[in-house]
């Protein structure tokens, strides 16, 4: 009978355990910055938040206090514009991909959507600058909206597609079987069923756009005053964070943390909602 080499086995066992430990450690190392960032934003942000922050305008340089009412408004408007430019394209493209996209062309479009999501946002900003700012000869909210719209397209298109694909096939077949034309099936049966998922997917795209800074730097630029004029520069939360973080004033730094806190909370809520909706409803279909 052959003898089992226990020493060697022992060594292999140790190696395996070590690697398992290393793997767990890398998870811990990755999660640490997450908690650190959340912790700091929470700790610094909460102390910066008060009613003034939401309803007041920025104070002139050197004075403490003031708020970011115009930036909150600006971000809301810019996102609205982004939705206006980006969502129709993404939703229709998503419907197309889900319903008719099982061919080479669909694959190519899907591929390009993925590639589009990898393009740096600053490059998108440059393109929006060339397309909108140069002809208008002025920085404008409109240009910022175009940039955000382009950035929303990949996320919104792919989630729309995925959500429509989650609609059970039997539903589609039932509708077609009773004689509904394809377009009506899509519009009246599929879309309403997938609406909840699509909405949260769109929210996810919005949350991402709300956190974008780079494409706004030279499109919407930023503005210290109240402005709702789409043809002029407009303030946004993220550009405010950027300016205030670089500034040598402690009070401004404090407000930057406050704005970051607002952003993080917004994004956290949207992500949780997305998780909840996709799992709660279609959990069994996933994986």
């Amino acid at each position: 009978m052959k003898k089992i080499n226990y020493e060697k086995y022992h060594w292999r066992k140790i190696k395996s355990t070590t690697m398992t430990a290393l793997s767990i450690m890398s998870v811990v190392i990755a999660v640490i910055p997450l908690f650190l960032i959340f912790f700091y934003t929470l700790a610094q942000g909460i102390s910066a938040l008060n009613l003034d922050f939401f309803i007041h305008m920025p104070k002139p340089v050197g004075e403490t206090g003031g708020g970011m009412a115009n930036a909150l408004m600006g971000t809301a408007i810019l996102i609205g514009l982004g939705c206006l430019f980006g969502l129709p394209v993404s939703i229709f493209a998503g419907i197309y991909l889900a319903e008719h996209g099982n061919n080479t062309f669909g694959q190519i479009v899907r591929f390009f959507t993925d590639v589009l999501s990898g393009i740096p946002s600053i490059v998108v900003g440059v393109v929006a600058y060339i397309l909108v700012v140069v002809p208008m000869k002025q920085y404008s909210a409109l240009a910022g909206g175009v940039a955000l719209g382009i950035l929303m397209i990949p996320t919104a298109t792919r989630t729309t597609e995925e959500m429509i694909r989650l609609v059970p096939h039997s539903l589609r077949e039932a509708a077609l079987a009773i004689g509904l034309p394809q377009w009506k099936t899509t519009l009246r049966i599929i879309l309403p069923t997938a609406l909840k998922g699509i909405t949260t997917g769109v929210l996810l795209a919005i949350a991402r756009a709300a956190g974008e800074t780079a494409p706004l730097l030279f499109t919407a630029l930023g503005n210290r005053f109240w402005s709702t004029d789409l043809g002029h520069p407009m303030a946004s939360l993220t550009v405010f964070i950027y300016d205030y973080a670089k500034a040598p004033f402690e009070d401004w730094n404090r407000q930057a943390w406050g704005a970051a806190f607002v952003l993080i909370v917004l994004i956290f809520i949207v992500n949780m909602t997305f998780r909840f909706v996709t799992r709660g409803r279609y959990g069994d279909h996933q994986n």
């Binding site: 066992k13 890398s26 393109v127 060339i130 949350a207 800074t213 730097l217």
Partner: protein, 290 residues
């Protein structure tokens, strides 16, 4: 159909507009643009090498830091963790991807950079100061800070795609390995070997993200257009020079040069993404059909 074409056409429109926008600098500098080290708006001379160097160094540093960690996370998620622990961990890693880059930058300026300046960099200088990478003064702002921030930011994408790649490998492989008496690590090694090209794809996607990352890098890299071997020295990157100077570019040649940098970034990220996506697609498809 029409809208699908728009998505498709957008990529080409972007390329076309940027080529048109950078015509001036393309004609004036040609290939020298890539190797020129002088960036002088006053004399209207532009060479992008310091920025290209900065982008390459910071991204490379980020890859070195993030890749092993990501593989560790992917192994944990796909091979080790039971579902009840895998789900929340996955969610947390994905949350890391959802944090806006400006918040990373803010955190970088006020937490990471002071920490590097007061504890990490003096330590590195003291013990590894003889190496060219760790020479100089502890500024805090610099390549090292940019590399670390980037590493945190690309962790989620590399690890979640690696996880998907490893998961796509059929269970029979694991069972076969375990059945002939392999330990868990030995079986994992076989899985890793099977998913090798997919992991490469994941790394390339992460690299693409690191190359184009703007705000967080701009806020911590120090913004000085110098080529220095030391990771402690301030540097600059392609994305951050655009962010810093584009709104103030006064001459036509100046903004044209910046657009050319954007064009290079665009081209590099497109190429990285196309290669990476093709690899990842082919591997997940291969295992899906078998």
């Amino acid at each position: 159909m029409f809208f699908a074409i728009i998505v498709f056409g957008l990529v080409f429109l972007m390329a076309y507009e940027m080529i048109r926008g950078s015509e001036l600098s393309l004609q004036k500098f040609g290939w020298k643009f890539l190797s020129g080290t002088v960036w002088d708006p006053v004399a209207d001379v532009y060479g992008a090498l310091p920025y290209i160097y900065g982008t390459l160094t910071s991204s490379f540093l980020a890859m070195v830091l993030a890749f092993p960690l990501s593989i560790g996370i992917a192994i944990f998620l796909s091979e080790l963790a039971p579902p009840w622990i895998e789900r929340p961990v996955s969610f947390m890693v994905e949350l890391l991807a959802a944090i806006p880059s400006i918040v990373y930058g803010l955190w970088g300026i006020f937490v990471l950079v002071p920490w590097l300046r007061t504890s990490v960099e003096p330590f590195l200088i003291k013990h590894l100061g003889s190496l060219p990478f760790f020479k100089g003064a502890p500024y805090g702002f610099g390549m090292l800070a940019a590399g670390i921030i980037l590493a945190i930011m690309i962790l989620p994408i590399i690890s979640s795609i690696s996880r998907d790649v490893l998961r796509a490998i059929p269970n029979s492989q694991r069972e076969a390995a375990l059945a002939i008496g392999a330990t868990r690590w030995e079986s994992t090694k076989i899985i890793l070997a099977g998913g090798k090209s997919g992991l490469l794809g994941a790394a390339l996607l992460g690299l693409g993200r690191a190359v184009g990352e703007t705000m967080a890098v701009t806020m911590v890299i120090g913004n000085r257009a110098e080529i220095s071997a030391s990771l402690l020295d301030p540097g600059h990157s392609m994305a951050s020079v655009i962010a810093n100077e584009f709104a103030e570019a006064t001459t036509a040649l100046y903004s044209s040069s910046l657009i050319e940098i954007a064009l290079i970034l665009f081209a590099v990220t497109i190429i990285l993404n196309v290669i990476a996506r093709l690899i990842v697609w082919s591997i997940t498809k291969k295992f899906k059909t078998t």
